[in-house]
């Protein structure tokens, strides 16, 4: 889309006349207004769907005894199918409310999970069962492609992380094999990799950005957890192999020229493959030359800072405000965490909080200003 500067440039060059420039300016304002309104509708309908979905799950959890099990199942399964039909109708048959239709399809996917948990509750299937979450994923995953649904890609990623967590709790043997931080880091890389694969084909690229976003968040959360001085870092021999395979797979995808050209976030993708390979190296070294907790803390802080810097660079290059905002958010969180770690013992409490608060306020003002500038720059004048 063109912007105000471009219109002025064409006007100065004589490519367009004043009337054409005015028409373009008016159209541009109209386009931006509509674009903003679409975003608002998307946000409101998605939040509404999520709230109703959470309500349905809480309804199941309350195990209300006033109505019988058969009626509850019929009510919830009936609602799931009806909401799904309403979503399909508004998005494809009526076509007047496509965004509402998408939100209703997301809601039906949440109701599907609630119905599943209701049946599991009636038959007293063991609590915190990972298989139920897996069935939920299997049930809703095809909708990502069937309805080109981006929110369901997000829901599936969240459910995948939940499934991994429950599986980790169920199989106590996993604790000896891999730490929870590493399992989520590998899961995040896997989801990010899924995102890259999706962004390569025209028919699946709608889900690519969501998978990448969800993968990136898990990677950042687990790496952030690594930056704290905690207990001994233990690694089994299989872990560096998994990291190395995921890093090499990512790199192989990005090295192939036709695939590289299709990837719209090459720099961010390279950052993630670098992290995977770096983790392979760190975990491999840990097996043969384990270091002290302090060394790991320093090392992971450097790795985390490095990743944030790479992401900021990628965000600027791709003019992607989402990546820049994500990197800035984690950067602030990192400063906050380290401030507490290093100065808690050194400064008197009152001074600690006042000075820390002041520093954070200044940082937040600087970063917010920078973020706004970038947003204006990336969107061509739209704020």
């Amino acid at each position: 889309m063109f912007d105000e500067d471009l219109i002025q440039k064409w006007l100065d060059e004589g490519t367009i006349n004043h009337n054409q420039a005015e028409k373009m300016r008016a159209d541009l304002v109209e386009y931006k207004k509509e674009h903003r309104s679409k975003k608002q509708v998307n946000a409101f309908s998605s939040i509404g769907a999520i709230l109703i979905g959470i309500g349905a799950i809480l309804f199941v959890a309350s195990n209300w005894e006033k109505i019988g099990n058969t009626f509850k199942v019929l009510l919830l399964v009936g609602s799931t199918i009806s909401i799904h039909y309403a979503g399909y109708h508004f998005k494809y048959e009526n076509q007047k409310y496509p965004r509402l239709g998408s939100a209703l399809i997301l809601l039906s996917a949440m109701f599907f999970g609630a119905s599943l948990f209701l049946i599991a509750q009636i038959y007293n299937i063991n609590a915190n069962n990972s298989t139920l979450v897996l069935i939920w994923i299997i049930g809703v995953f095809p909708l990502i492609y069937g309805y080109m649904s981006t929110p369901i890609a997000g829901l599936c990623s969240l459910l995948f992380y939940l499934w991994i967590g429950l599986l980790y709790m169920e199989r106590t043997g996993l604790e000896n094999l891999i730490s929870v931080k590493d399992i989520y880091l590998i899961s995040g890389i896997a989801i990010y990799f899924t995102g890259i694969l999706h962004s390569l084909a025209e028919k699946t690229k709608h889900a690519g950005k969501t998978f990448k976003f969800m993968g990136l968040q898990a990677i950042l959360i687990s790496l952030f957890a690594h930056t704290f001085k905690m207990w001994e870092y233990k690694v089994e021999k299989i872990i560096p192999v998994i990291y190395a395979i995921s890093g090499i797979l990512l790199l192989a995808l990005l090295i192939a020229k036709p695939l590289r050209e299709k990837s719209r976030s090459f720099h961010a993708d390279i950052s993630i493959s670098t992290i995977a390979l770096l983790m392979a190296l760190i975990t491999l070294t840990t097996i043969y030359m384990p270091a002290s907790e302090k060394v790991y803390m320093i090392l992971f802080n450097v790795v985390f800072m490095g990743l944030l810097t790479l992401l900021l660079y990628a965000g600027y290059n791709m003019e992607d405000i989402g990546i820049v905002s994500t990197a800035m958010f984690w950067f602030i969180l990192l400063i906050f965490a380290r401030y507490f770690d290093f100065f808690w013992e050194l400064l008197p409490r009152s001074l600690f909080f006042m000075f820390g608060g002041l520093v954070l306020l200044i940082i937040s003002i600087v970063l917010e200003r920078k973020r706004r500038e970038l947003k204006v720059q990336f969107s061509g004048g739209e704020e």
Partner: protein, 198 residues
Amino acid sequence: MNQKKVFYLTVVFWLLIFSGFILYKEYTLRTGTKVILKTEPVDPRDLFRGDYVNLNYEISTLNLEEIEAEDPYLEYNDRIYLALEIENGYGVPKKIYKKPPDNELYIKGTVKEPIYEYREEDDDNLIPEESRLKERRVVEYRRIEYGIESYFVPEGRGLEIESQQWASREGIDVNVVVDKFGNAVIKSLLIDGKEVET
């Protein structure tokens, strides 16, 4: 594929999952044998399904020295089939199998972590000095999961049931139905032999 087909396929797929799930459990409930199992309950909460009573059965911890086993080497996550004998309605462990036994009532379970108990050998003839040095014998138990360790109750009823359990004389029993494939489903909770209404 057009969206109309996607819609119909999704509805059919979801209904198949729901009905398959219900039929699988109903099959056990309708065709299985009723067994009562002794328990010791506590009261936690599930993320999606609310309050439940955590059931720890007597058969959840098997003493490998007391119960005959087809193969005594049980690894973590191994599938086992515990043959049950019914005594006064209660299911009592008879033998542990690695493969489903023929013509026996059995319940399917998964081996979990081992539990070790240190017991001192009792010997009345030992003099005090010797008794201090008496050998400690290790008794190995195996925790087994049968997929019937949770009983879901209406919000807030978990604590109530727990207090009833402490007040009861005979503790909590569970009415379980076991089908011919060893799958078990909880039918009801019994306190002093009476069904708990939920």
